[in-house]
């Protein structure tokens, strides 16, 4: 006979049984005798917090203490006092609750009986006024100076998966209230019968006030349990808000999708109800959002960006982490937004993938000025390379190179050959390929040419690699080669501004995120300033969100200040985000704070928090900011032209706010629309053209050089 023995261990399913301990606390002695007045220091809730600290809610444990209060009416109190006084009078002299004389009292029912016993005569002459101390003892805590008196019901309940655990928890709760024992004490009454358990549960769940017996308590007895834990409660397991924040302004607009409002997040209004608070477009000119990474800055910006895109405004969102665009896409996949949508995703680098291109040196736009292009590109690269004040030669060489190439591009465009424009990659060719440069120099004006013939050769050669290093970094990534390698720009932020495009830029995944971000933001600044050519009423409001401002500030110290001061004049509303305001230069910081009409912070390090808190004139303490939970902010905005006090805002996720606009099925159509909008080309095509671009340039310009006089094959010039 064989016996099969199962070797696999059978893991018992976790028990779902719950054991509940219940207790109602009632006064053990007549309720005129007071409990101990515990005071507020230390906080009597300290022990309760300690008892709660080990409650594992995730395992199904629960522990609750409820105090139900009903105020005792004055007339009831007065009646009670009369009865207690009468009782005290009858009782006669007493001490420590014991009667001092054995004699019978002469008042009340007993007095009547005694009088009848004596033949209807009473010993009026022997009646004495009661002692004050006896009256005071008789009234106990219910003396007229007692203040508010409450009828109280105290219920304790502990629940656990094991009966001993529930019992232990209940003992802890009872121990907390044992500290109130004084002249009187609280006696636990545990419901035993089914009826009494059901009655307890009904009271506990519903809030029904039906205490087992009358018990009136005064405020000094209850004070420790009448308020939330104070600063004197040093237990760590207490939910605290971190600090006081003024309430939201009563006239803060409520967002329901209005195009003239910008959503901020969930705000608790004066009636205690949470609504979506908003700032007015006319009031919000420049915003600054501070705080730790991962605490909701980007999400808040994304919510605003999607809202403004749906409202018809132009938006520009620099998404360095690349996640915001993926989240936003289904909410923007709608027919009225798709024709306006541009996507610059530098994570795409496969040869057959379609990408958009941008040539920062392009001169195709008639209003482009060479000096603006030079400044934008030079400052962008210098900021990304963190040159600061340490590389004046490199900065000058870069500016001169950019100037030369921009002038050549201008000629190419004027000559009807926009495909013969130089790109950023030609900066390296210009500096390192002397023959190529010298063949193009004759096309430049004399003053420009003089620099390259007279000054540049005298500079030390070690300055050139500092410049080409930036371009070399761009050249390491097919995505960046494709993005910057096309002579013609499909991406033109000025067009986006004027036409209300919705632009998402995701440099994530490329090897030079900071360089791309810097170039793009400097280009945004340049394009914003170029709106000088448009009368003020004709400037369409354009919203821009940019992260990691600190990286932009490292070189061009006045640049961010200029953005804060100038772009708003040209209807470009910029909202910048950074983790560390203190890392910004003093000039930038002052300009940002001086011009902000939205200042927001999520949780931050103490120094940062103290810095922001000072801006709010002490309305918020640094501790408040450091202890903000995730996705919660403190912010102040401009409202009706005046700055508000800071108020709390809870971040709202995109999914909740725009649930009606989630359209994942429309993403394929959206991608096709973006291909059309941005004239996207396959990566392989762009890279192939880039290989021959130096030769193409040379061919075009050499053809036009006076005296060259040949229309032959362009490649012959290279050879």
């Amino acid at each position: 006979m064989t016996l099969t023995v199962p070797l696999d261990k059978q893991t018992p399913a976790p028990s779902r049984a719950r054991y509940v301990e219940r207790a109602e606390l009632t006064l053990g002695l007549p309720d005129r005798k007071p409990l101990a007045a515990l005071g507020l220091a230390p906080d009597p809730l300290q022990q309760l917090a300690a008892a709660f600290a080990t409650v594992r809610t995730e395992s199904g444990e629960r522990a609750d203490v409820v105090l139900d209060l009903v105020p005792v009416r004055e007339r009831h109190l007065a009646r009670r006092r009369r009865r207690l006084l009468a009782r005290s009078r009858r009782r006669g002299p007493s001490a420590y609750g014991e009667r001092l004389t054995g004699g019978l009292g002469t008042g009340g029912v007993w007095g009547t009986v005694a009088a009848a016993w004596n033949g209807g005569t009473s010993h009026r002459g022997g009646e004495r006024l009661p002692r004050m101390t006896d009256l005071r003892d008789g009234l106990g805590k219910l003396a007229p100076a007692a203040g508010a008196v409450f009828a109280v019901q105290i219920l304790l309940r502990a629940e656990a998966a094991h009966p001993q655990a529930a019992l232990a928890r209940m003992h802890q709760l009872l121990a907390v209230f044992a500290t109130t024992s004084g002249e009187n004490y609280l006696k636990p009454r545990r419901p035993r019968t089914t009826w009494s358990i059901a009655r307890f549960d009904r009271r506990f769940e519903s809030g029904e006030f039906a205490p087992r017996r009358r018990q009136w308590l005064t405020v000094p007895e209850l004070a420790g349990f009448l308020k939330p834990p104070t600063a004197k409660c040093h237990a760590s397991g207490v939910v605290r808000s971190g600090g006081l924040v003024p309430p939201a302004p009563a006239d803060l607009p409520i967002y329901t999708g209005q195009p003239d409002l910008v959503p901020l997040g969930a705000v608790t209004y004066a009636d205690g109800r949470e609504r979506i608070g908003a700032a007015r477009v006319q009031d919000l000119l420049f915003g600054l959002q501070l705080g730790k990474s991962g605490h909701g800055k980007t999400e808040a910006a994304l919510v605003q960006c999607i809202a403004m895109a749906h409202s018809g405004a132009g938006t520009w969102f620099l998404d360095p982490h690349g996640e915001a665009w993926a989240r936003a896409k289904p909410y923007l996949a709608h027919p009225h937004i798709a024709p306006r949508l541009w996507e610059i995703d530098l994570g795409k680098s496969a040869p057959d993938q379609f990408v958009a291109s941008w040539n920062p040196l392009s001169m195709e736009r008639p209003t482009s000025a060479v000096k603006d292009i030079v400044r934008s590109v030079t400052e962008g690269i210098a900021a990304a390379q963190d040159w600061g004040d340490h590389a004046p030669r490199a900065r000058t060489i870069l500016a001169r190179t950019t100037q030369a190439l921009a002038l050549l591009n201008q000629q190419a465009v004027q000559g009807g050959a926009p495909d013969a424009q130089a790109t950023l990659f030609q900066i390296r060719s210009w500096l390192t390929d002397e023959n190529w440069r010298e063949q193009l120099l004759p096309r430049l004006p004399g003053r420009v040419r003089a620099y390259w013939t007279n000054t540049f050769p005298r500079l030390a050669s070690d300055a050139v690699p500092t410049v080409t290093y930036a371009i070399d970094r761009l050249d390491t990534s097919p995505a960046l080669q494709a993005f910057f390698g096309s002579p013609r720009s499909a991406y033109d932020v000025r067009t986006a501004m004027d036409s209300g495009h919705v632009v998402f830029v995701c440099p994530s995944g490329s090897e030079a995120d900071a360089l791309v971000s810097c170039l793009l933001i400097h280009d945004l600044h340049r394009a914003g300033l170029s709106r000088q050519d448009t009368p003020r009423p004709g400037r369409r409001t354009f919203w821009a969100w940019g992260d990691e401002l600190t990286a932009l500030d490292s070189s061009s110290k006045g640049f961010l200040a200029a953005i804060a001061e100038q772009l708003r004049k040209y209807e470009v509303r910029f909202i910048g985000m950074t983790q560390m305001a203190l890392r910004l230069s003093a000039i930038t910081r002052q300009a940002l704070l001086q011009n902000q009409s939205l200042l927001s912070t999520c949780a931050a390090d103490y120094d940062e928090a103290a810095f922001v808190a000072r801006r709010w004139n002490g309305h918020v303490t640094p501790e408040t900011v450091t202890e903000l939970p995730k996705y919660h902010y403190v912010m102040s905005i401009n409202l009706n032209g005046r700055p508000t006090k800071p108020f709390r805002v809870r971040g709202l996720p995109v999914e909740d706010l725009f649930a009606h606009y989630d359209n994942p099925d429309g993403i394929a159509d959206l991608d096709r629309a973006i291909d059309t909008n941005l004239l996207r080309r396959p990566v392989a095509d762009i890279l192939t053209s880039l290989e021959d671009l130096d030769a193409t340039l040379l061919a075009h310009h050499a053809q036009r050089t006076p005296g060259s006089g040949t229309d032959g094959d362009p490649t012959t010039f290279v050879d």
């Binding site: 409650v55 409820v66 105090l67 139900d68 939330p228 600063a231 329901t256 205690g272």
Partner: protein
């Protein structure tokens, strides 16, 4: 009937003898009224208990009230019962609930919905009164035009 009265009470006097028959006749009416009133009160209490409001009291880390402040707060709590619109005490008590959630102590204030205005009124400068989830009026946004997908 008078014999029964005399039998039970001896000689109660002429006035009482006159009143007792009427009192006996009115007692069922009084009893019915009392029962009706009791049922009415019970119904009001039950209705109030079925519709209560909860707010969370979140103190700051520097919250340090004096006893006088707590006494003033107690007076405010007392108004919850009065603000309940005549609901009997059984259904209009204000409740302070201390509970543990993942090892953290939270303090809630509960009361009848009719007293919501009092419940949501901050009693201490450094205690934030937070609405519970059901107090949120946040709904997904609908842009006026053009409309989103159906």
């Amino acid at each position: 009937m008078f014999d029964v009265i005399h039998l039970l009470l001896g000689d109660p006097g002429p006035e009482l003898v006159t009143v007792i028959p009427y009192a006996a006749g009115a007692s069922p009416v009084v009893l019915a009224g009392w029962v009706g009133w009791t049922v009415h009160c019970a119904r009001r209490a039950r209705a109030a208990l079925a519709d209560r409001v909860t707010v969370e009291l979140v103190p700051t880390s520097t919250f340090d009230p004096s006893e006088a402040e707590v006494a003033r707060w107690a007076r405010q709590l007392g108004r919850v019962h009065h603000a309940a619109g005549g609901v009997p005490a059984r259904g209009s008590a204000v409740r302070l609930r201390y509970t543990a959630e993942t090892g953290k102590m939270r303090c809630y204030l509960e009361g009848p919905r009719t007293a919501q205005a009092v419940l949501t009124m901050p009693g201490f400068a450094e205690v934030e009164v937070r609405a519970q989830e059901d107090r949120t009026s946040i709904r997904p946004v609908r842009f006026p035009a053009p409309e989103g997908p159906a």
